[in-house]
């Protein structure tokens, strides 16, 4: 692990939808060392309110020394972040956490829901680079509607991976859940499912994978104060009765280790 804290310049701020933004940030160090599924902690204000940093998955890195995050405006922190202007500096801590374990054997199936789509692009790109792969990754993306899905979808399409989509309102792709689409796939037994999304979606994906004896990794979301294993605040209950810590043991866990409580 090679974590750094630095002031990085906001190179570009793009408003993808009414409340989804993509920021391009300049950091040689983070761009060079980040792995798919890892995240950064970003300070969203300069005063003591809001106090804590906010975690965001790394959407993609670039060889020009920049990386991107994509986020949805939820509360105060993300509102401030949406108001940041190009040229401003942001304090960023990262890359943090354990990302996805990349598999070489069977098929790679990426399942992203809502803002859980964010870490999937970086993952898809890395998987594509693995020359040993028998076939390109299969990506399944779900969102509430076309408006939310489209802006990130185009980035996947540009990669040339196969993408299947689902929206709650049917405005793009399958009218229903992304898990419906997963159920219809029949991947080889050694395939790996990589998942990130709302908890109910991840629990459903984990269950489908267990039924079909597919390996599955999920990226969990919890409240976080430090992002680096110091506060012990980011607990995630595990099957063996113990607790994992999302920021340092995760955010990516083997799905079978998680105790799914809804």
């Amino acid at each position: 692990m090679n974590q750094i804290q630095e002031k990085v310049q906001l190179i570009r701020s793009e408003r993808l939808t009414a409340d989804i933004f993509r920021l391009t940030l300049a950091s040689q160090a983070i761009a060079a060392s980040a792995a798919p599924g890892q995240f950064v902690m970003v300070r969203t204000g300069t005063a003591h309110d809001p106090l804590l940093r906010r975690p965001f998955s790394i959407y993609q890195t670039s060889s020009d020394g920049t990386f991107q995050i994509v986020f949805k405006v939820i509360g105060r922190g993300t509102t401030l972040l949406a108001h940041c202007r190009e040229g401003e500096e942001l304090s960023v801590l990262g890359p943090l956490g354990r990302g996805y374990r990349l598999e070489q054997k069977g098929q790679n199936i990426l399942v992203g829901g809502g803002m859980g789509i964010a870490p999937m692009l970086f993952l898809a790109k890395r998987l594509l680079k693995k020359t040993a792969l028998q076939e390109p990754p299969q990506v399944l993306l779900g969102a509430r509607n076309k408006e939310e899905l489209q802006p990130m979808l185009v980035d996947f399409q540009a990669l040339g991976v196969r993408v299947l989509t689902a929206t709650d309102d049917g405005s793009l792709g399958h009218h229903g859940l992304v898990t419906d689409r997963l159920r219809k796939l029949h991947p080889a037994p050694e395939s790996m499912v990589y998942c990130c999304g709302p908890k109910p979606m991840m629990a459903a994906v984990a269950m489908i994978c267990r039924e079909r004896s597919l390996a599955c990794q999920v990226s969990v979301e919890t409240a976080m104060a430090c992002g680096m294993g110091a506060c012990l605040g980011c607990t995630i209950p595990l099957q063996d009765g113990s607790y994992g810590h999302a920021c340092s043991d995760g955010p990516v866990f083997d799905a079978e280790r998680i105790l799914w409580t809804l």
Partner: protein, 317 residues
């Protein structure tokens, strides 16, 4: 920074807690700095005055179910539930790294009974690298119906005596702010033999989620920390420093060298940096640097000139 400057800097900032000499007054607060290793990429650990590790109990504790933390205005609530690896694994897995560091290690201990505190102190006696014990008395006394040790002067004194009896290093007792008169507890603990007092631990607070109509913490209540509590912490440090003669370690909302210096003026011999480590993992070292710069700029012979140097004028300023 070259060697000479660094040496000078350290000299200007030296303070004592009991028999322990700290190269500067800046410690990290228990539960906010892991077991120090988590911060090695951000902080030159040997530049700190000392490191206080996460509270250790006799047996490992899993801690509370999530959610355990929630942000509040200029602060945060935590209900970690004293998750820790237990004293045996602490000694086996964490102490070797800590012992290798050139920095005093304060082991924060907690128990549910006087006996548990005593056994912890006994177990930690003689362990290489343990420089001091910090006794967290904010935990509920399970034998006495759950009232916190820290809110009853007799119970607080009993814990202090028991730990002192076993310990071969200075014993700091960490006071709870959730009391009517903190000086009563402070005096009781001093009389029972404490070598120093640290304060404050967190204020008890709560947060409510209007959307779910549930508490935001699974544990319902939690401990409030961060800049929000600084005024309460400063006041209590001021009161306690005037009430006792052992050194006081100031804690609560410290995020900058100015904050730290304010506590020292109010009577603290040293300070601990807590929640600020989460916001800025370099906070503790930056506070050491800022303090050195202040001592230099103000032409002070030593930081010790500032301890309790707050001027109080009668009838207004």
């Amino acid at each position: 920074m070259d060697f000479v400057t660094e040496k000078n800097m350290d000299h200007d900032l030296e303070v004592r807690i009991g028999s322990l000499v700290l190269r500067n007054p800046v410690l990290t607060a228990s539960g906010t700095f892991g077991y120090a290793r988590e911060f090695e990429q951000f902080v030159n650990l040997h530049r700190l005055g000392g490191v206080v590790v996460k509270g250790i109990s006799l047996e490992p504790r899993p801690g509370n179910p999530p959610p355990r933390i929630v942000e509040t205005s200029c602060g945060m609530l935590n209900a970690i539930g004293l998750e820790n690896v237990g004293v045996e694994r602490f000694i086996a897995e964490k102490m070797p790294y800590l012992n290798n560091l050139d920095v005093p290690v304060f082991v924060n201990i907690l128990g549910d009974s006087v006996d548990e505190y005593q056994r912890l102190a006994a177990r930690l006696a003689g362990i290489p690298g343990v420089s001091a014990l910090e006794v967290n008395i904010s935990c509920p006394n399970v034998k006495k119906g759950g009232a916190a040790f820290g809110s009853d002067p007799d119970m607080a004194a009993a814990v202090t005596r028991a730990v002192k009896q076993e310990s071969d290093v200075p014993v700091i007792v960490k006071l709870s702010p959730n009391v009517t008169d903190v000086t009563v507890i402070a005096r009781a603990v001093e009389a029972a033999g404490a070598d120093g007092l640290s304060l404050i631990n967190t204020l008890i607070g709560m947060a409510v989620d209007l959307r779910t109509r549930r508490p935001k913490l699974a544990n319902v209540i939690g401990g409030l920390s961060g800049p929000a509590i600084k005024p309460v912490a400063l006041r209590m440090v001021y009161q306690v420093a005037r009430a006792v003669s052992v050194p006081v370690i100031g804690i609560g909302g410290i995020a900058s060298a100015e904050d730290a210096l304010e506590f020292i003026l109010a009577g603290a011999t040293a300070v601990q940096v807590g929640t600020a480590n989460f916001v800025n993992p370099r906070a503790s070292e930056e506070i050491v640097e800022g303090m050195a710069a202040y001592v230099h700029a103000q032409h002070l012979g030593s930081i010790r000139e500032l301890i309790g140097a707050l001027q109080i004028s009668e009838g207004g300023s």
